[in-house]
């Protein structure tokens, strides 16, 4: 039987989801192995194999597709553990990477740090000035050569870097994406001297103006390149040895997968792919359930991540900030704040008020209730005190939590605030849930979307615990806890459900009225690139889709809007229609009357998303037995009632479909807990999703 396997390597656990031909799902977890993540990868697969009574080689021999989300690239950049890298760039512009457009001193900082100017600092350079080599050459915005490449200077630069024993060379010239001849010439010169050198040309990664962001992306790609590609190759070879006969596919931040070969050349695009799986999984499920608008929310131990699916399409962004470096790459727009189970509850001395996060107790020492030396109370401690989380059944009973430690830690806090310990716990949870709701509000309202039109998908260890509160705060009416127990390995499922995706862009300024001939030429060119790549990936032409978009804006205004463009040969009417579509979309996003139409419109970027659809089984309806199983009752504190109430506790694993459970109630799933506040009501659907209605 052919299987589809998704493996998601996280900081603590490596999750595995295996789907069979009938759409049945098996999940497995195994500790991650930071020394060599490949080990954890195969351990997780092996655990899954055992659950379906197979050996690891048997499973891999029958696997149709192996899809993987890796944090190796992200870790390398976050910890600044990459290889010694050199940069060859246009003479006179080597400082672009050092200056970081000035904003590098504060880019991406949370507000508290942003306000503290005396602490602002640019990060240590990925490539120090001593390894930045400037070469005489110059191309202008049109692609015309103003100064030919000075080959003697290029030779000298390459030899210098080789003498310095760099392990990667980034090549980025001004306007190299318009006319790549100089970048290509230098690359071939590098390979003449050092055939094995990891080389990245900027124009291959990004085709947009902005030398800082393009150079930063190229530098980072080289910096993490050898390490990431080594890892990917190890996994691929081992899988092959064990009998896997198809390509290994790697999750990209864009929401699609790429072949291992492609990912090894462009590991940049895997950066930040961690939370992407969850959103793609939500999209997959939302298509099955018929939900066009979804807020995908993930509560982990240290962070709260939110992605938005609007009209069936995940929202994307083109700019990423990591480690205060800003760079361009197509990716799902996922925003995070430091709110999770491990968020520390603390007191601001001066105002004597309670704060939660953004610091986290992490996994080690972890919350006070772990009894691993953590003294500071966390949200998990508060959840234990309030009775939301069962100390004896945390993560399926793998850990025992010590409620008395939670109480001790929070009592200290309560004493200083002059409050009752339960009030304090409830207050802390309320604060963190409001922070979560605020982020979701920002992600919708500020993009011209009304959160009340959305269904909330809540996953990650803490999503089901807090979802009722934060969703109600936004006025949402429906929550889906996806596939019950799969919620905790949701990213792996998302990875398993992803399609191949390559994004091609071309920056060219076109001023309205747009010439359809020029647009046709550009799109034909971009689609050809996509077709070539997808064929290389082994995708049949029938399974290819090309989605065209352009970035448009009103002149004299700054907002770029991505507008879909119709297929086929474009006519004058299509170009006119495009202007109308843009104007409508602009109104919807930024409000009626916000467009300054008199200034005219322009296109800045042409884009083709080349998608290689992977045929997969549909999700199966699960025949479930059992019934409404109240396992026990426990005293749980409900904020609305302001007291502890004896509350029914259900065993999620035993629950039958379509049995309505009204809050207040707790449903304990193997890896998480669903908290049904008064005024909410939920039931399992046929697929095993727990669907909550809010009143």
């Amino acid at each position: 039987m052919p299987y589809f396997c998704g493996i998601d390597t996280g900081g603590t656990f490596t999750d595995c989801v295996v789907m069979d031909e009938q759409g049945h799902i098996t999940i497995a977890k195994s500790p991650s192995t930071p020394k060599d993540f490949a080990e954890g990868f195969f351990n997780a697969l092996e655990v899954a194999a055992e659950k379906i009574a197979l050996t690891l080689p048997q499973l891999l021999q029958q696997t149709r597709l192996l899809l993987h989300g890796t944090t190796v690239g992200t870790n390398a950049i976050v910890q600044l553990k990459g290889v010694k890298t050199g940069l060859i760039t246009t003479r006179g512009h080597g400082d672009a990477l050092i200056m970081m457009r000035s904003v590098g001193r504060s880019a991406g900082l949370p507000i508290e740090q942003l306000l503290h100017v005396s602490r602002h600092q640019k990060p240590a350079p990925i490539i120090p000035r001593s390894l930045i080599q400037e070469v005489s050459e110059r191309v202008d915005w049109k692609g015309d050569v103003v100064l030919p490449l000075n080959e003697e200077e290029a030779q000298a630069a390459i030899r210098f870097l080789l003498d310095q024993q760099v392990e990667g060379i980034a090549i980025s010239f001004l306007w190299g994406f318009v006319n790549p001849s100089h970048e290509l010439a230098v690359r071939s010169m590098v390979h003449d001297l050092a055939p094995q050198m990891f080389v990245t040309c900027a124009h291959e990664l990004i085709a947009k103006p902005g030398e800082y962001e393009r150079t930063a992306a190229t530098a980072i790609n080289c910096f993490i390149g050898p390490g990431s590609s080594g890892y990917i190759q190890r996994v691929q070879e081992r899988a092959k040895q064990l009998g896997y006969q198809h390509p290994l596919l790697i999750m990209q931040a864009s929401g699609g997968v790429a072949t291992a070969q492609e990912a090894a050349r462009k590991p940049l695009f895997t950066i930040g792919s961690g939370p992407v799986g969850g959103v793609i999984g939500s999209k997959f499920l939302a298509e099955t359930l018929g939900h066009p608008n979804v807020i995908a929310s993930d509560v982990g131990g240290t962070s709260f991540d939110v992605g938005i699916i609007s009209n069936g399409v995940p929202l994307t962004s083109s700019e990423t900030i990591i480690h205060q470096y800003v760079f361009f790459m197509p990716q799902l727009d996922i925003q995070s704040i430091g709110s999770g189970g491990g968020s520390v509850i603390w007191i601001d001395e001066l105002s004597n008020t309670m704060k939660v996060g953004p610091q986290s107790a992490g996994a080690d020492p972890g919350p006070a209730c772990y009894n691993r030396g953590g003294e500071e109370p966390t949200i998990t401690d508060a959840n234990v005190i309030l009775g939301y989380v069962n100390p004896d059944n945390f993560l399926g009973g793998k850990y025992h939590l010590d409620r008395s430690s939670s109480l001790r830690a929070l009592q200290r806090m309560a004493d200083r605030l002059g409050m009752d310990v339960v009030e304090t716990a409830s207050g802390a949870v309320q604060i963190v849930e409001f922070h979560m709701a605020d982020l979701m509000r920002q992600m919708t309202v500020q993009r011209g979307l009304d959160p009340r039109d959305f269904v909330v998908y809540a996953y990650g260890g803490g999503g089901p615990v807090h979802a009722v509160s934060y969703s109600r705060e936004l006025g949402c009416k429906t929550i889906v806890i996806p596939l019950g127990s799969v919620a905790s390995t949701w990213s792996a499922l998302g990875i398993q459900s992803a399609d191949l995706l390559h994004v091609y862009e071309k920056a060219e300024l076109l001023i309205a009225p747009f010439a359809p001939e020029r647009m046709n030429t550009i799109f034909a060119d971009l689609e050809e690139k996509g077709r070539t790549q997808l064929r290389e990936d082994g995708i049949a032409d029938a399974d290819m889709r090309f989605l065209r978009t352009v970035d448009m804006k009103f002149r004299l205004q700054i907002h770029r809007v991505e507008v879909p463009v119709s297929d086929g040969t474009l006519q004058a009417e299509d170009a006119t229609q495009l202007m109308q579509t843009f104007a409508d979309k602009y109104d919807a996003l930024y409000g009626k009357g916000s467009a300054f139409k008199d200034a005219g419109m322009e296109i800045g970027v042409f884009r083709v998303a080349a998608i290689g659809t992977i045929q997969r089984p549909a999700l199966s309806q699960q025949g479930r037995r059992g019934g409404e199983t109240v396992v026990t009752h426990r005293d749980v504190y409900w904020r609305d009632l302001k007291h502890f109430t004896s509350t029914p506790i259900y065993d999620g694993a035993q629950l039958a479909a379509r049995v309505r459970i009204a809050g207040p109630a707790i449903i304990e799933m193997p890896e998480t807990t669903i908290v049904l506040h008064p005024g909410s009501e939920g039931q399992l659907d046929g697929y095993g999703n727990f669907v909550i209605a809010l009143r």
């Binding site: 200056m99 904003v103 915005w141 700054i558």
Partner: protein, 755 residues
Amino acid sequence: MSQTTVKWDGRTYPYIPPKQLNVYASLSLHTEAEEKIDPVTYEVVRHAMWNINVEHGNTIMKISGSPSCAYGHDFNPSLMDEHGDFVFFGPFLQYLSSATGSAVKWTMEYRSDNPGIHDGDIFLTNDPWIGATHQSDVALIAPVFWEGKLFCWVGNTLHQWDMGGTAPGGFNPMAADVFWESGCIPPIKIVEGGMLRKDLEEEYMRRSRMPQLVALDLRAEIAGCNVARERLLALIARYGAATVKGVMRKLQDDSEKAFLKRLETIPDGTWRESSWIELKGPGDRHLYRNALSLTKRGSTLVFSNEGSDPQDGTLNCTLVAWKGAIASMVCSQMLFDQMFVVEGAYRHMEFDVTPGTISCATFPAAVSAAPPGVLLQTIALSGLVISKMLSCSSDEQLRTEVQSCMGAAMYPVCAFNGIDQRGAPYASFLLDPVGAALAGLSWKDGVDTGGWPWDLQSTMPNVEDNEWFYPILYLWRKELVNSGGAGKYRGGNSGELAFIPHGTEHISLFTASGHCAVPGPGLHGGLSPATTKFRLQRGAEVRQQLHATRRMPTSAEELQGKTEFVAPKAFDVSQTPADAFLLSWAGAGGYGDPFERDPARVVLDVQRGNVTQAWAHEAYGVVLDPQGEADLAATGKLRTKLRKARLRNAIKRERRKVEATRALRVAEGLLLADGQLACSKCEHEICASTENYKLHCVLIERPVKATNPYVLDPKVYVDDKMVFRNYACPSCGLLLQTEMARPSDPPLWDIQLAG
């Protein structure tokens, strides 16, 4: 004008709100505030209010879509209580804060009777004597009513494309007075009971060269106010008016507490700083003094502009702008952990101003050029006087906020226009100097091309962005080695760019700036940074050079032709394809005597290309061995020799050593012990603390250009004579302070401790 005719009402003289606002009786204020709020409600409401202000700002950005908003951050939303006192101000341009509060207070005093302040109203003003930094910054303020009472205010300021007047964009370098500039609008009720007044809107648009864009920005500002008001009302409905008001009060009170706690660690005294701005207009060749002093008396800070030169030409700035400049550094250095709730400080700040000066202009002086000139320079001066005060704090943490002069302390405006490479007319100005440089601090170097302290997210455009939009080809854009002021902790280096016309036959350039003739100050012995330089290399013929050499030049020295330094107030300067234009902007000031810098840091700077070996030798007294490492023995010798040289003119007399363990540090180089000021390095006394220590230091007078390799002889730009004074410890030669002065100026008594 005699003192009796002075009325601080925002007409001739700037508006100074009285302690108790004079509000018309029919306007009743909601003052009830819950005093005991549980910590959870407090945190939830506080967070919600901050987010309401953020959403207010985002709404403006969203609707306006204006580049000055998105890239220049030239706007800010605010939330104020029923008296116009600040609750929250956004994380954008900080100097705009005083404008909004001032506009609200004036409106309450002068508009509550006629036309009255009612639910659903919004007032608009751009009057720099009332509530704007200059006429292009238009403030909108909206009262929020609850149950018939004025509960609080929301408001915002946004820079406009064009508000009319004799020059596009509002700034005319020839302006003799404000009537040459965009007109001033004292607060008018543009929205009445929720309805935008058509008559006033048209009156407002009519003045502009770009009426549609101005109308769009107006809608953006109104929408921002409306969103904030609606969300505040929802918050009040949910938590109760008294509770929400109580949270506002607590935020202000907590910020005040933090501020006072910090003040308690500082002795009373007066700290002074002054700097120079050149050319009141094209053709002028003089320097003008911008002076700022800060006096701390108990729990009060008094800021004064005493010693500033009389208002003249286009140099001037109004009180509103000047206060905003000061507030931005008070927030940055003293309220960084209070979400910039500036009200906590405002309650203890007084402004003792001499009107009719460049920093407190009276109507009808020309004031539209204030932001890039005196306003920015005042931010730099504020940072310096506050730093001098904080240097005396007993709180070690607080002393880490001590910093020298920020980079690009006057903005090098370089506007250019012509026909672009696609054949269309264009006009714009260079935003590259936004990558200013942060000052050297008391514990670390300034950030190279690190922007400004008052714009938290300063962002330079990419070279490709500018080449895409304008007919120019950059030869280089780089950090300028040595441009940060030397010091124990050096100032951040600034940058330099050079371009030639590309795809056009002619570019017309305009400049407006300062710090070309005389650089900004260093602190506590730190040296001044590089000056700003606009220059044309006439007849450079770069294209021919490229063809002949196949090599891109990367510095002025590599260019041919004749150098022409462009004055910092120049208009319609022509650049042809044969000419290269170069702009380098002022770096940030250094902190502390450069000879005290750890040689290892100097070596690192040389290795990283931040400092040249020659400057390491000259400014820092550091000798490098052939391997490029510090030769410590030779360095020690050189430094001793250079310190001795400083002592050449010292008056030799017996000086007592103070007991350092009982001393209080009042500056990097000064100790206070038993009423005596002493050197912190050799611990020998200098003078009584009631005297100006500079009079007892050894004075080394040097030419201005000795402070930094990029500084030119001021006579390139001005006729005034200037000197660079170095004040050193008469016993050991430690450099204690430097200043730029006219030869006739007495030494500035910059650290004057009380009693």
